[in-house]
Symmetry: C2
Subunit: 294 residues, 2 copies
C-alpha cells in the first residue's frame, strides 16, 4: 500500500502481488500534523480490504524526512513546521501496520522506475523547490547524509539571487516553482501555461523569462548528468506535468548548450529526457518503499 501525500490531495494505491495497481483512492489533504495523520489513516482504511493484513504502508511526503525514524519536518506545504511529526510511529499505532516514510521526490523516482522498468534514472522534481530522486541499479540512492540528488542547491552563479539555503545563485533560484513565481509574479494557478501563452502572444519579457526558466532546467539536467549520469532523466512536478511544452523547451535549451560545447554534445541529454509516465507513479513508488529497504 502506498500513499502520495501532496499539499492538496492524498493519492493511495494498493498493489497486487505482481505489482499492478488493484485499488486507488484520492482524498483532499487536511493540513497540519493531525490533519496529515487523519488523511493517511483514511486512505489506509479505505484500501485495507484490498491488501493482506500484514501489508506495510509506504508514504511519500514533501519536506525533510528521516527515513529511519519516519519523522517529517519542514513540510511547509503540509503546514508541518517547527515540531517534527513522527508520522511513521503515530500512523502505525492508529492503523496497526508497519509504516515507512520517504521524501516525495524519492518515492516519485522509485515509482517511475517501477512503472517504466528502468533501473537507472533520475527524477527531477520541479515543485516549489528543485531536487532529483536517483535510482541506481534499481535501488534508491539516498546518499550518506540523505542529500544525493539535491542539486537544487548547487550554486551556479556567484552573482545570483540569495537562496533560502544561505547560498547565492542556487539552481533552485532559477529553476523551480518559487523561482518562476519571483520571475513571473501573479496568480498561482497554471503559471507556466500563462507564461508560455504570453510569450507566444509576443510579450518579450514573458519570452525572456520562459527561456531563462527552460535554460535553468537544462542546467539542472546537466548537473544531474555530470554527477550520476543516469540513463534517463525524467522531468516531473506540477510545473512539468501540465504539458509537453516545457519539456520541449528544456530539450531546446539543452541542444543550444550542446551546440556551444562539443563535450556536452557527446552526452545527448535532450534524447535522454522523458516526461513522467501516466498513472499514480508517486503512490506506486511509496508502495515500493518496503522493497527498496530490504
Amino acid at each position: 500500500m502506498g500513499i502520495d501525500i501532496g499539499a492538496t490531495k492524498a493519492l493511495g494505491v494498493a498493489l497486487g502481488g505482481d505489482g499492478s495497481v488493484v485499488a486507488q483512492v484520492r482524498f483532499p489533504t487536511q493540513a497540519g500534523p493531525d490533519g496529515v495523520l487523519r488523511t493517511a489513516a483514511r486512505v489506509v482504511d479505505e484500501l485495507s480490504g484490498s491488501v493482506g493484513p500484514a501489508s506495510m504502508v509506504g508514504i511519500g511526503v514533501p519536506g525533510m524526512v528521516d527515513p529511519d525514524s519516519g519523522e517529517v519536518s519542514h513540510a511547509v506545504n503540509l503546514d508541518i513546521d517547527g515540531v517534527p511529526l513522527a508520522l511513521a510511529a503515530r500512523l502505525a499505532e492508529v492503523v496497526g501496520r508497519r509504516v515507512v516514510v520517504e521524501n516525495d521526490v524519492n518515492v516519485a523516482a522509485l515509482g517511475v522506475a517501477a512503472l517504466t522498468g528502468s533501473t537507472d534514472l533520475a527524477y527531477l522534481g520541479i515543485g516549489t523547490g528543485l531536487a532529483a530522486g536517483i535510482v541506481v541499479d534499481g535501488r534508491l540512492r539516498r546518499g550518506a547524509s540523505g542529500v544525493a540528488g539535491e542539486i537544487g542547491h548547487v550554486s551556479v552563479d556567484p552573482a545570483g539571487v540569495l537562496c533560502g539555503c544561505g547560498q547565492r545563485g542556487c539552481l533552485e533560484t532559477i529553476a523551480s516553482g518559487s523561482a518562476l513565481a519571483r520571475m513571473w509574479p501573479g496568480g498561482e494557478s497554471a503559471r507556466v501555461g500563462r507564461l508560455r501563452k504570453a510569450a507566444l502572444d509576443g510579450d518579450a519579457h514573458a519570452a525572456t523569462v520562459w527561456n531563462q526558466f527552460a535554460d535553468g532546467l537544462a542546467q539542472a539536467v546537466t548537473a544531474v548528468a555530470l554527477g550520476v549520469d543516469p540513463e534517463v532523466i525524467v522531468l516531473g512536478g506540477g510545473v512539468v506535468e501540465a504539458g509537453d511544452a516545457l519539456l520541449h523547451a528544456v530539450e531546446e535549451a539543452l541542444d543550444r548548450r550542446a551546440s556551444r560545447s562539443p563535450f556536452l554534445a557527446t552526452l545527448h541529454l535532450a534524447d535522454r529526457l522523458e516526461r513522467v509516465p501516466s498513472g499514480p507513479f508517486a503512490a506506486v513508488g511509496a508502495a515500493m518503499l518496503g522493497a527498496s529497504r530490504s
Copy 2:
C-alpha cells in the same frame, strides 16, 4: 596485475590472492602510442613472475577511455591524440593476457576503496583537469555515458572563464592544475607549494589566489555531495598529494561556506574530506578492474 600509467611514470603492482601487494615496479613512461605500449609491456613482463599465467592486466590512464573496447583517446599528457590507441587489444597481443583499461580517476577511486575498505566514496582527482571517480556499494559508477563524476564541467559562473569544453565558468576553470597555472603563472614544479609560501610570506595576490583555489575545490566537493552524497570524499592528484596544507585550506573553505548556509552546515563536508591513503592506490585500483567488471 595493475598498472597506473601517468605522464612521467608507470607504476605496476601484482596483487596476491588476499588483495595485498606482492610485487611493485616503476618505470619512466615513454610518450606516444608505441611508447605507452612498450612501457606497459615492460611492466607486465617484470611482474609476470609474481602472478598466475591467467591473471589479467588492469590499466589506468589519463584521457578518454572506452572501457568496453579498451581504446584510449585525447590522452594529451601521454602524447596520444588524434588517432585513438587500442591499448587493450594491442597489449593483449603482446603479453598474452586479457587487458582491461579504465580512466585514471576511476581506477584511483577503486584503489582508494580497496585500500581503505570504504564502499561509498568519491575520489576527486585534481590534475590538469578536475573529475571525480565514484564508488557506490563497492562498485565503480561510470554512468550511462561514462561521465558520472565529471563535475569539472559543471558551470558555476556564467561570467567565468571560457573552458576548453565550450562552456563558461566550469569548476575546472577555477579548481584544477590548469586553473592554477592560469591564476599563478610560472614554472610548473611545486606550483602549489610556491603559491602557499608566497601567500604565507605576505604576498596579497598569492593569498587571494590560494583562497580562490581552495574555495573552488570546496565548491567541487559540494557539487559531488549534492550529486552522489558519498560517505567520504578523497582529494587526490599531484596538487593535493604534495601535502596537507591544501586539504586544510579546502576544509576551511567548506567551513566558511557552511557558516553562511545552515543547509550546507548539516552536511559536515569538512569532516568527510580525506587525503589519499599511502601506497600505490591507483595501480591497486587498476588491478581491481576485473572484479569491478564482473
